[in-house]
């Protein structure tokens, strides 16, 4: 599904190239659950952003589902967001002015899906996440864990094939974190959704089936998870 070939990313700073990523090559197959780990500033988030097409690599090629992203125009990229990629953020990034229900519905509106189908899909997700009672609340009225559930529901509603999660449990307590991670694992196993998450936590990484470790912009290790939780 994802083919990274010799990706480099640097910021020019006072004439010196400040490398964030160097010679990163990796391939992620459909149905994998990959955790990207490494110390702060290693380039994990940049890698995820490149995967999500939010940032462009300075050098190298990136094929997504067989297509070359690096030469893709804005319109095509938006098509990809709409149809294949769901984002989950550490800070949830729900839209404050929208209710739970509207937040979940938003991607479908941009995808121009008809109202009746939107309603049924949102209702379905609310039901699945046990949030029917909270559908008319605003994000500020929810706990962090609940907000992240909404964030995940929003990422899922467009039925993406890939979920990119940047420290999805970074702002949560451990019990809530475990709940979110189990949800990810379930989505991965039962619905075959490919997941790439960035995490600091060894424990969270165990929910996936492969761990990429990045240090100083270079992939150090790429190991399968032995005894998956």
């Amino acid at each position: 599904m994802i083919e990274l070939n010799n990706i480099e990313k640097y910021h020019p700073a006072k004439g010196i190239k400040h490398y964030v990523l160097r010679h990163v090559s990796a391939s992620i197959a459909s149905g994998e659950f990959v955790s990207v780990m490494g110390p702060s500033g290693a380039g994990k988030s940049t890698l995820l952003n490149i995967l999500g097409m939010l940032e462009e690599p300075t050098y190298g090629t990136y094929h997504f589902m067989g297509e070359d992203i690096t030469s893709m125009n804005e319109r095509k990229r938006i098509e990809l967001y709409r149809n294949h990629i769901g984002f989950v953020f550490q800070a949830y990034h729900l839209i404050d002015e929208m209710t739970v229900q509207e937040n979940i519905e938003a991607p479908l509106i941009y995808k121009k899906i008809v109202a009746s189908e939107r309603k049924s899909r949102v209702a379905d997700l609310l039901d699945r996440f046990n949030m029917v009672a909270k559908k008319d609340l605003f994000p500020s009225q929810l706990s962090g864990g609940q907000q992240q559930l909404v964030g995940i529901a929003r990422a899922l509603v467009a039925e993406p094939s890939l979920i990119l999660a940047d420290e999805p449990t970074g702002n949560l307590q451990s019990a809530q974190a475990a709940e979110i991670m189990s949800l990810f694992r379930k989505l991965n196993r039962e619905e075959g959704i490919t997941i790439v998450q960035v995490t600091h936590s060894e424990k969270n990484a165990q929910y996936g089936n492969r761990i990429l470790t990045i240090e100083d912009g270079v992939v150090r290790t790429d190991t399968p998870v032995a005894g998956q939780l």
């Binding site: 939010l54 938006i78 967001y81 984002f87 990034h93 839209i95 002015e97 941009y110 995808k111 929003r154």
Partner: protein, 790 residues
Amino acid sequence: MFKLNIRIALRSLLRNKPAALINITGLTIGLTACLMLLLYVTYERNFDRHDARTTRVYGVMTNVPDGKGGITATFDGTTTALAPMLRQSLPALEAVCRLSYGSIRLIASGEHAFKKEARFAEPEIFQMYGYRFLSGDSTTALADPHSVVLTASMAKTLFGRLDVTGSRLRYQDQYDLKVTAVIEDLPLNSSNRFDYLMPWLFYETVDPSAKELNWTNYSFITLLKLKPGIAPETVNKSLVTLLKSSGSDSEQPHFIFPLQRLHLYGKFEQGRSVGGDIEQVRLFTALALGILLLACINFMNLATARAGRRAREVGVKKTLGADRRSLVFQFLTESMVLCLISVALAVALAELLIPAFNSLLRVQLNVGYFNGTTWLALLAIVLFTGILAGSYPAFYLSSFNVIGSLKRNAPLRRFLPFSMRQVLVVVQFCFAVSLIVATLVIYKQISYIKNRPLGVEVQALVEMPLEGNLKTRFELFKKRLLASGAVSAMYQSSVKLAHHSSNFTDIRWPGMQAAVNRVMFNKVGTGYDFIKTNGIKMLAGRDFSPALPTDSGGVLLSARAAKIMGLKDPLGKVIQVMGERRTVIGVFADYVWDEPAKTNNPMVVQMEPLRGGSMTMRLNTAHSLEDNIAAISKIAREMNPAYPVELSFMNQVYAGKLESERLLGLLSRIFGGLAILISCLGLYGLVSFSAEQRTREFGVRRVLGATLLNIMQLLSAAFLKLIAVALVIAVPLSCALMNTWLQGFEFHTSVSFWTIAVATLLTLALALVTIGLQAVQAARANPVDALKYE
């Protein structure tokens, strides 16, 4: 999606109440001004356009030569002889009509007498104006010399009903007339208005000067209607040749001007139209649009200042698949929602303000709620404003790239580099400062003109129309008033003191160079005590004296008249006024009449037989004003029971002459106030936002030992710099502009250092208060709270 956008827009309004309040206040004020403007412009533009037949109607204009080949004035007065000649010899004309100027005359139905505006016209007037007949018709309405046409409200006033054709009326307590037609009221925005209309044939009985065909008395209006397809230029050409060949001794060149344009473009210089009321329309347009622009700037500034917050939303939406178009659309929806709320408030506000506005501008506006065009125009305003206010933020915000906006605490830009926002604030304050300067200069000019010596002792001076029985019994009336002690001196005259309509050129004097005089003179026909009553200063000679019977052939000259004639020792010289020989017995100092900021025409004052006009009285200051008025009213009612007593105070009459300047002053005060209010609101919003954004920075600084004052300086400096820039730009610009305005007055003041100083200090003070309010709040906040935040 649209519904969701609107919901989100409303929620975000509620969430940011201060910003919403600032925006709505500003936009409501701006839109109200625009609404009024819309109504006003429609009103002015539709002047005399109620009927299609008026498009081919032209008024004959007269140029007044200054004797040196130039033209001093242009007006719509013509002679009685012109119309009959044109009717006979110009086949390009479909109709020609003579019309009198309107004057307030007494009309009575039995006991009910009213003084209303009367006009006389030839029947062709019905081909010029599209009057709608409620009863009677255009062929017979003015056929009989003793007929009268009433407007609907006049009929209501006189009879209380509309079906009054055939009823009898009494004119000026002298003539019996029969109502032949009732027409719908004339719209206020039509020229040559009247309450009742009488035939020209009747005018010839009432006023001999209307009957005699002459080429010297320019006291009548002539209207022409061209045949379809005739160009006015060809008529103008034949007019010139015709006047020459006809052998008339008329020296005034005539030309024709479209009636429909006369109201808006009726100001002439050197015989060419150079504007008129259109200037007022333009000024008001500029002011109203300016205010709306200020409000839009507030919206833009607050929206982009909050960009940091909105940026995250933009980023998230982009990852959810939103394209730029849908984001632009969303932000525009927000500004539209705001506009709609404001426009609803503005309509309500306009409805409240229209009566005041009407009496201020002397117009008759109303909101045509069920008029399709009004709704369309309103919609257009909302769309225009929404797009104007919303487009910059929409394109600015939607352009954020995802990654920058999602990174936490990523400063989008340093707050206030040299940005669009700064430019906009400067623009706002430039506008506000200019209006303040304008207000001050206009105020100064008005007081300058007011304080100019009038040359007349205007206190305790009153005037009253001379009409009815008093015309024949004036001497008795005067005797009784003097005996009653209410009046210390009085005189009668052909014209009022402050406005002299009687202009003429037929005058000769000893040592005159040219063969024919081309300078417009003004004539006042009077009896005794003209000088004494008015308190006018004599420069040489004396007033008319009853002791010297030869004085009836005497004449008084104004100082300017004596100067123009170039008479070294005018006393005793014999001049010819309209063919009559008169001896100069005195020269008096010029006094103010007509336009107070202009030098007036030279004037001759002579004894004339009593023909009606005006009486001017000096009240006896030994008695109270109320007693004097009561005494005068009592005697007037006794002697002239058919007429109401109408006394006007000369100081009010003179004050009224500054009406258009007063109006301009008032408009600039209102708009200046609004401009500064809206600008300060915007500034308040920006400062409060800046303070909020820098809460943490201020917290840290406080902890490090910064004082309240330091923090306030920090916050204020950036904004005060902008105000200073605005002052530097706007003050010289507006001073130059106001200087040009002042040059338009013959007597004018100047833009002084004090004007500039007051405008500058006022603006700075207001800005400082606005900023200070917020700065104090920010500086006083507990640093611990600030640091806990986030």
